[in-house]
Each structure stands twice: as C-alpha cells, then as structure tokens.
C-alpha cells in the first residue's frame, strides 16, 4: 500500500477535494485564443495574486505567501497545468475579485488595508465553499477555490513554507513510529 501516494490519500480523506479539483488528475488542454491572449499574466496581475495569497496565508512569526512567490507559482500552474475551463475561470476571477472589492469598499483590492482584504476574502471564501457544496459536477469551479488551493499548495511546498511554517526533514535518517506531540509543534512538510 505504500504505493498509494499522497494525492490519492488526500483525495480520499478530503472526500474527493484535491488541489485544483479534477485538474490535477485530468490535466490540461490547449488554451483557446481568448485564454491564450490573457496569458502570460502581467506583472501587475502576478502582484495582485501575491496579495490575494498573502491575505490567505499572511506573514506571521513565519513568512507569508508573498515571500514564497506564490503569485508566480499560480501563474505557472494556471499556464502549464490547468485545462481551458479552469484557465478561463481563474483569469476571469482576477476581475471578479476586484469587482467584489469595488462593490464592498468602493476601492481597488490593491488599495485596501490588510484588514479590509481579509474581510473581503472571508466573504468570498464562504461564497466559494457554499458554491462548491451545491454545484453540479459539470459546473465550473469557483475562481476563489482555485486561488486558495494553489495558494496552499504553492506556499507549503515552497522553501519558506516547508522549512519555516512546517517542519521539513530532507533526510530523516530513521523512522520512529511513536513520538510525543505537543500542541504548537508544526506538521511535517512531507
């Protein structure tokens, strides 16, 4: 069983919710013209994604998503790995998220305070989870589901995420089956 790797485990444990949804299992198609025209993303868009990611995973006693260059990572994954449908959802999501900011705070997302950004994303996060719970299989994903999943994957597999927010041991040297755990100790990165 040792052959059942993390992705399968996670799929089961999370009731089928896997980073990027079915994308990671099914892969990507060639982007259509509209999507192709929107890629690559601009430096401003990547900076925007960095701020979204930083709001989800902020710097605390450990660095946040921006320090892990999660915006750039999202760009790579959307370009190389998303199918056309998710690419479209993701790219349109950049505009939708900003519109939500305009509606709620009459201001561009980039100009919001960290507190305002958090408040905005808490609302969108709830909306995305409710949508995921009720959507039909063939309905598109919510753009924020994609952004949040890529943020978590990108951050926790990054050097700062794995080595500072989590505990990364490249070469454990031995296996110990039963050790004490005290609240506050970080999870293993892999």
């Amino acid at each position: 069983m040792n052959r059942r790797e993390a992705l399968n485990m996670v799929a089961l444990l999370m009731g089928g919710t896997v980073v990027g949804g079915t994308v990671f299992l099914e892969g990507c198609k060639t982007a259509d013209k509209k999507v192709a025209a929107a890629l690559p993303l601009t430096a401003d868009q990547i900076a925007f994604l960095d701020e979204v990611a930083e709001t989800i995973i902020p710097a605390t006693s450990t660095p946040g998503a921006k320090a892990a260059k999660v915006g750039e990572f999202m760009h790579t994954m959307v370009t190389d790995c998303y199918d056309e449908k998710d690419q479209t959802t993701f790219i349109e999501g950049l505009g939708k998220l900003n519109e939500a900011s305009e509606t709620k705070f009459k201001s561009d997302f980039m100009k919001l305070t960290p507190e305002q950004r958090k408040e905005l994303l808490i609302g969108i996060d709830k909306e995305a989870k409710d949508y995921a719970g009720s959507k039909k299989k063939e309905d598109p994903n919510h753009y924020f589901t994609l952004m949040k999943q890529l943020t978590l994957l990108g951050y926790f597999s990054s050097e700062v995420g794995a080595t500072q927010a989590l505990r990364y041991v490249a070469v454990p040297g031995k296996y110990e089956g039963c050790i004490d755990y005290k609240k506050g100790d970080k999870a293993w990165a892999i």
Binding site: L13, P58, C178, I179
Partner: protein
C-alpha cells in the same frame, strides 16, 4: 564476437538476478536491455531534490492527460517520470482495459517497484491443485525456501519473524515500527478474531546493513521515502544498486542497453535454440547473438511477446507452444477494494520520518479449507497517519489563525486496501496483433484480460471483513469503495508461460525450462501458475536463482 555462454533478456528485478548468478558461476553472460543505461547514483537526477525545486511541485498534469495509462500509476510524478514508458512511445492494443505500466531502462521496474517482499506459503503453492483451478504447481514451498533465504540475505529485507504458516518467516533485518495508532489497532484487531494477524510489512530496505550489503556499496535506509527517484544511499534493492554492479565485478558480464529482443532463434537444422535476434533501439538494425542458454526476463508481458514472436518450422505458433497455451492463463492482483476511516484521539502522538512499508494481515480466507463462496483470498494492508496542511483544502479560513491551524498536524486517518488472488482462466490471454507493429518492427501485443465473478466476491468480502476489523479497532466513519481500476495497474501481471509437470498443460518444467526448448528459461512473472496474495517480486528472484543453479549444472553436464 556475438557468442556468449548465456544471454539474459531484460535487466529488471529477475534479469538482474539471472545475470548475477550466471556471472558468479563463471558464465560469460550478455545482458540485453531494450532501454537506455541507468547507472546507480549517476543517473538519478532528481534523487536529492527538494519539493520547491520542481517547477510544478511534482505535478504532471499535461503528461498525465496525454498518457492516461501510465498517468494512473501512483508512482509517476515530476520527480520520477524519466523512469516510466509513456503511452505513445510503446503502443499496444487492449481488447479489454489493461493498464500496462512499464519501465524501459537498465534496472527496469526494479527502480520504481513498491519493494514489499513476502514469501509465499505452502498454502499458496497447493492452492490450484486443492481448489481445482489452473494446474498444479510443480514445486512446493520446501523447494523454494532455501532460495528465498539465499536471495533475502543478499538483497536485505526488513521485517519481523512472525511465526505464521500463512506468511513464512524470512531472513530479516530489523522491522520498521508501527506508529502508536497502528500498535493499538493491531492489538484490538487480533483480539477480535484469532485469524486476523496484523504484522509489520516486509520490504527490501536495509534497516541495518550487513557486511554483504556493505560490499555492494549499499547503505542504511534514511526513511526519506523518495524511493521511486532511485536511492542515493542504495538502501532499497534494485538491479542498478545491487545485482548488476555485482555481476559486473566478476568480469563476466557484458551489459548492452538499447537492445530490443525481437525473437529467440530456433535452429531447425540443429533442433535447438541457438540465440536471439536483437533490433538496435536507435539504428533499428538487426543483429543475432548466440549462446548455449537463454534466460527470458523481459517482464511478464514482454516475455510473452518475445516467445509468441519466436516462430520457426518446429514452433509455428511461438516458442515451445505445442499445446497452444502460450499467452494464456494471464493473471494479476485484485486491488479494487479500498476502505478509509477516521481515528479519534491520539492528538498527543506523532511519528518521525517516512516509512516505506505498512502493517499487513496475511490472507485468512480459505486457508486450510474452502470456507467461503469464493476461491482463495486476499492480503490486507493498512496505514494510519495525521493529515498535514492538506486539511486546509476543504475548510473555510483566511488569515493568520487559519495558517496557524493548518500548520499543525490534523486528526488521524486510516487507509486500508486489499491484494486479492485472481484465479487465472484460459480466456485471459495476450496475443500478437496480426497487422500492427511498433517502431522496431515488433508485432503489437493485444491484451484480453479481465476480472471475473470471483474477484468481485473477494472484494465484497474484503469490504465486509476490513470494515469489521476497523470497527473492532474503534475506527469511525468507515467508508468502503471500489477503485474500479483496470487489471494491470497493480503492476503484478503474471502467467502466460506457466510452469507445470505436464507438457500438455504447461510450457515450462519445474526448473523453469521450456519443456520443448530446454536451454531456454523463463523466470519472470510469465512463469507463474497462480498469483497467491503476496507481492510477487521476491518469488521471481528466488525462482531465478534456483533456475540458474540448475541451468549451469545441466550445462556443465552437457545436458543443454
């Protein structure tokens, strides 16, 4: 210059063993491998890379989409893809869905195997005769036991001596521990039913290298569990880390990569096999090589393919195929049943390092007599772990508190799976496509292999018994499912050139020699009569060492 004492076709787990044994006995051996060379350490480009050094952090979405067959393999990712055959490179035809997972390189799939190594029990060898399927095995446990020991000492097996007749003890190095939850579960499962024996898995990892392993240049397992990339410590067994360099040291080995074996040459005038025809993988030029004995170890389906393609006046239907059974009675392991559940408590316990094995329960069904409505049984595997950051995927949460919460380990979960014995039938077969050929001029193989009614009954029983085990261990939210995976994805394909005492019903004798071409031996999965419930590679290696011993002895007596 194209003449050797012996030719071995295929450098994977069994071919590597054939080469080692032959070379150690002073036999000049040509080891042919259809793929490129992979040298231990030097050709493991990803072995020490960190997660963030992979552009897509391990994901291979585009490749998996374009190669759905290999894309379903658990071990394929951005770190390992260079060791897997892509679907489009080597096409085959599926009458029924069969996921054929292949590794074409020196070392073959021994680089990317799952490394679980259990001996067969005598119940396994007696199974077909007792239950009236396939044919009787021509050997019993006692015939193979010394060869299991011989192989185990050299490759190094981690495990306990459990004293079970359903899972004979092996020559073992220290076992990996169970974690705290597994230890408790094992006790509760064992207390609930005397037939449920939970033992720690046995795997080909050096937990405490012995001198024989150090002589191979292999070191202790570091519990990285990045094995499928090739091990920089040589801690798990592969042809690359062990048998091939060992054979090389004798001075008797010629290793020739990029050599696609087209067929075995049967010389009708001499009335015997004299060598093999090889297509150069790069230039596509054909060359003949000659030897007194040939070992076919191309891995099950390719060994079948070569034998089927080896036609002559004497054998118009494939090598040794007087009875028409070549390519038939194909078998595999039934992995369809899966169970998961959650474990409450143990929040103050964790583990350190990454373990390359897991607890297992040897088969307890129909062991001493038939006591269910299906034939044979299954091995059960389970593993518990705490969720990591992935727990955040399904949760609401934004900001510092969310981040802090998901950087701590989440609750414990259990994952359980089966490895069921598939009962082979004549209708499960492989054969050559009459028109389609691959880029090297080889006929494409057609797979006509499927599950049967018995497999579904076995899965149902596993779901029921496994759920009972977990319930007895206090597991909550127990959920069963059917992976519906196609045969082949187990990567335990076996049969097609089976052993047996009677040439009318088998292709090979009890020494793995073709009944009708006694200087040709098959000791990979193709030789298997039945599958048992154990992971098969250890048995292939033991059969290989035993067959080489016999082959060399016969050769020296002038019998072959």
């Amino acid at each position: 210059m194209n003449t050797y004492d012996a030719i071995v076709v295929g450098s994977g787990i069994s071919g590597g063993w054939a080469a080692k044994e032959l070379c150690e006995k002073g036999i000049k051996t040509l080891l042919l491998e259809r793929g490129r060379n992979v040298e231990h350490l030097k050709d493991y480009p990803t072995a020490t890379m960190n997660p963030w050094e992979f552009k897509h952090r391990g994901r291979l979405d585009k490749l998996k989409k374009e190669n759905p067959i290999v894309g379903r393999c658990y071990a394929l990712d951005e770190a390992t893809e260079h060791f897997f055959v892509k679907d489009h490179e080597h096409p085959y035809v599926q009458d029924k869905p069969f996921d054929w997972i292949r590794g074409y390189q020196v070392g073959g799939k021994s680089l990317i195997w799952a490394r679980q190594t259990q001996r067969w029990s005598n119940y396994d060898f007696e199974g077909p005769a007792r239950d009236g399927f396939a044919i009787d095995w021509p050997i019993r446990y006692k015939d193979l036991a010394p060869w299991y020991s011989y192989v185990e000492k050299f490759i190094g097996i981690s495990g306990n001596r459990d004293g079970l007749d359903t899972l004979p003890d092996c020559e073992s190095l220290p076992a990996f521990e169970m974690n705290c939850v597994e230890k408790d579960m094992s006790g509760k499962i064992g207390a609930a039913n005397k037939n449920w024996n939970v033992v720690q898995g046995r795997c080909a990892h050096l937990t405490k290298p012995a001198p024989i392993h150090q002589q191979q240049g292999r070191g202790q397992c570091q519990a990285r569990h990045l094995c499928y990339r090739g091990c920089p410590f040589g801690a798990y067994f592969s042809s690359n880390s062990s048998t091939i360099p060992w054979a090389m040291k004798t001075g008797n080995l010629t290793l020739q990569p990029n050599s696609v074996v087209h067929s075995v040459i049967f010389d009708d005038a001499k009335g015997k096999v004299t060598g093999v025809r090889v297509v150069d993988a790069v230039t596509k030029k054909m060359t003949e090589y000659y030897a007194k004995i040939i070992f076919l170890n191309a891995a099950c389906l390719n060994t079948n393919l070569i034998a089927l393609n080896s036609t002559s006046k004497r054998f118009p239907n494939g090598l040794g195929n007087d009875n028409g059974l070549l390519g038939k009675y194909m078998a595999f392991h039934n992995y369809r049943g899966v169970i998961s559940g959650s474990v409450e408590g143990y929040e103050d316990k964790y583990y350190f390092g990454r373990r390359p094995t897991q607890p297992m329960l040897p088969n307890f069904r129909n062991v001493k007599k038939q006591d269910t409505d299906f034939l044979r049984g299954y091995m059960t595997f389970f593993e518990t772990s705490r969720t990591g950051w992935q727990q955040g995927l399904g949760q609401n949460g934004i900001g510092a508190d969310f981040k802090n919460a998901i950087t701590e380990p989440g609750p414990w979960h259990v994952f359980m799976m089966m490895q069921g014995e598939h009962v082979p039938e004549e209708s499960s077969r492989v054969y050559l496509h009459k028109d389609l050929k691959d880029a090297w001029g080889m006929p494409q193989l057609v797979t006509d292999i499927d599950y049967n009614e018995n497999d579904l009954k076995v899965m149902k029983d596993f779901h029921q018994q496994g759920s009972e085990m977990l319930a007895a261990a206090g597991v909550k939210n127990i959920s069963t499912s059917d992976s519906k995976q196609a045969p082949g994805l187990d990567i335990h394909e076996m049969g097609g050139i089976r052993m047996g005492n009677d040439p009318k019903t088998s292709l090979l004798n009890k020494w793995n020699q073709f009944h009708h071409a006694p200087n040709v031996f098959v000791t990979d999965g193709a030789c298997m009569v039945s599958t048992s419930t154990q992971n098969p590679s250890l048995t292939f290696m033991a059969l290989t060492a035993r067959a080489v011993d016999h082959a060399v002895s016969e050769m020296r007596k002038g019998n072959i």
